[in-house]
Symmetry: C2
Subunit: 425 residues, 2 copies
């Protein structure tokens, strides 16, 4: 079969007719399949559910003499700080331990910047005439929405194979209204790119005009390899410190995809001065996070080495799903020449770029056939993909047999959208 762009109108029509027949038979099955979000599968949750029996009595609730059942220890129990410092390669005193989602900690940092300013702010961001925020795209919709909620102008920065386009970032930060940037340095959401050492060093060396410019370093997939061995990336905190701007970065991580997405714990790490600054604001907001759950996690996950071994069990479940996505795309889409996609070795997504102008239509067809996907454009500021091309595939939730079915339907929809586009040109 020739690639679609080399087909005659007659061939296109015939192929469209074939795909429509497939599509209709899929619709008739009344399926309900979900590849919308990076949700762990039930099998993964079962795999780590022995964490639930780690603490079953009051006597087990003590962290080196500290009773985790009572008030206090706002910034986290000591062993939780040691744990996250080990994972992230920073110091325990550089951490503040959060609740079940690191997103809430990110929101808190931006919210506090808005209401009270950050450590080096001249005024709260709500008193600034304008605030701009850099959004490497495709990126994580929930990041962009936080800064959008606080009225920031979102500026798209393209992604390269090494991470965000640093030439552009270095240029943009010369504008004092540019107050920060969202980053997912390892297995970026959705591209699955690991920022190169050079990119990370360029981040640390940034010379922003805004004294309170912040790098929001969401290390969400810091130990989330599903193929191959653990990959170490340079510690941004110490690089920023070495470059003379220790307060320029806030790093985030959580156990949402290590233990439970609905009941894990999280961390924000930064300079000691930044942690002191936000802790003071946090002291008005909260009394303490769930310290028993902190201890439960530390007892179960132990340390970085042991956590990596737990991640191997997730990898064994995840890898076949990513292989399934890859195999079906290779077989169904590659010959048509209508899309390209990444082949990540960690993280939770496959990012696919289909024929420009067809993503929205393809996803509408998916929905019609009972396959729920992340909305078109979601990975771009304001939910608008200028190319209408990027699609985020989240294969983690469905079992492989459902995933195969969902991917089959997805490919039919991609093809139909492309064929209709070519026929209408």
């Amino acid at each position: 079969m020739p690639m679609y762009i080399h087909m005659s109108d007659a061939q296109l029509k015939e192929e469209l007719s074939t795909q429509m027949t497939h599509f209709e038979s899929c619709c008739a099955q009344n399926l309900k399949l979900n590849m919308a979000r990076g949700k762990p599968a039930k099998q993964q949750l079962d795999e780590v559910s022995d964490i639930l029996s780690v603490i079953t009595t009051g006597d087990e609730c003590f962290d080196d003499g500290l009773d985790t059942r009572n008030y206090g220890d706002l910034s986290g129990i000591p062993s939780a700080k040691v744990y996250w410092a080990d994972i992230l390669g920073c110091k325990p005193e550089q951490t503040f331990i959060g609740g079940s989602a690191s997103l809430n900690l990110m929101f808190d940092v931006i919210s506090k910047a808005y209401t009270h300013g950050l450590l080096h702010s001249q005024r709260p961001w709500c008193r600034e005439e304008k605030v701009k925020f850099l959004c490497p795209s495709p990126g994580y919709d929930r990041h962009f929405r936080i800064t959008e909620l606080f009225g920031a102008e979102l500026i798209t920065v393209p992604m390269t194979a090494e991470g965000p386009d640093m030439d552009m970032v270095e240029e943009l930060v010369k504008d004092p209204q540019v107050k920060g940037i969202w980053c997912v340095p390892k297995y970026s959401n959705p591209d699955g790119i690991i920022y190169s050492n050079r990119t990370i060093q360029r981040f640390a060396n940034l010379q922003p005009a805004a004294p309170d410019f912040i790098i929001m370093w969401d290390n969400a997939y810091c130990i989330h390899e599903f193929e191959g061995e653990y990959v170490q990336i340079p510690d941004i905190l110490s690089l920023c410190e070495a470059a003379g701007r220790p307060d320029m970065v806030y790093e985030f991580a959580s156990t949402s995809k290590i233990t439970f997405a609905g009941a894990g714990f999280s961390v924000v790490a930064s300079s000691v001065a930044n942690i002191a600054y936000i802790s003071k604001l946090f002291s008005v907001q909260m009394i303490s996070q769930d310290k028993i759950n902190q201890l439960r996690h530390v007892l179960y996950l132990k340390d970085k080495a042991h956590t990596i071994s737990v991640m191997k069990r997730h990898a064994a479940i995840m890898a076949p799903k990513f292989k399934c996505v890859s195999d079906i795309l290779e077989k169904e889409i590659k010959p048509c020449g209508i899309a390209n996609w990444n082949r990540p070795t960690g993280g939770y997504f496959v990012s696919l770029n289909t024929m420009p102008g067809t993503a929205t239509h393809a996803l509408a067809l998916c929905k019609e056939a009972g396959v729920e996907m992340t909305g078109a454009g979601a990975a771009f500021p304001y939910g608008k993909d200028p190319q209408d091309s990027n699609i985020r595939i989240a294969p983690s939730l469905p079992p492989v047999e459902e995933l195969e079915k969902a991917m089959e339907i997805f490919c039919i929809c991609l093809k139909m959208a492309a064929l209709e586009k070519l026929l209408n040109q």
Copy 2:
């Protein structure tokens, strides 16, 4: 012995000398006693630690088919909403379930009012020229600090035996800059007052000039009797609805003093419209709270009736401590005529008013003798008690034998401060 105010200078000097001798012998013991905050005692935490074995396997993590281990259900699992609706006497759809501290939910409401406005706000509070907030005092320092953090002017409203002075409240809300009021309707912190039905009705009937005026109804001690049977107060949500202002109140509660202070769960209840409004803002901030802990609590506490039976076990531990405080004050302080205090039947505090102008000094003496108390003035806006008279006693944490010692020292310090004051007049 005559009351201090009837003593001659010579008698005062002799009494001071006696108390100073006691004081010095206390100091020599290098004690470390704490009556500073309303912390549950270890014995109370032990009493409810069987909650830790309620969920020990993955199979137990399902709430009517919903897997609490995974993402989703931002506003809480269905059974948690049913639980809190039962406790508070509202509807499940009027609740949003929070993490380990209701304080964080209160902060969130005020923070959102500041950054985005509430449902009926004409603009975010950060765009208002001035915001004033009513603070019935003595009250809870952490409440006042939240509104202070967002730049509100704190206005003191005196407490009466029926709750806040409602004549004054009704007058003050005519000012459109007055945006809300902090309330602890049952066993008010620190006075231990239960608002009368008449007071609660007057709250519901308020006609504030500000369209976005809110009653911050912190029902922290909703089922926290330590003496006598459960006391029902009218449901403020339905009263406000009946009065035509369903969106005027946000109610808060938590299990911090039912199960664990460091690992409970919380709720905000309000009109369905308010819950929808804040849920939309929360959807940018968070993914979900810890849903396993929600389920753990519902399975353990079951419903209101069973929770009240759990509270009886706390009462058995708390009651002797409040009796100890009361007995020692009766014996040591009443004859001197230098202070009066309340005798609550629930809540966590005894509020004492000593001779005006002596509270700060008395508490400094306590500190010197190794007894940590809530700071003088803490129960007033900006931490300033105009009378320098109110002292909050929190007897819950220490075991009775330590509490006796602490109270003994406290009484000595009260006496010394009063005697010195009288001698210097």
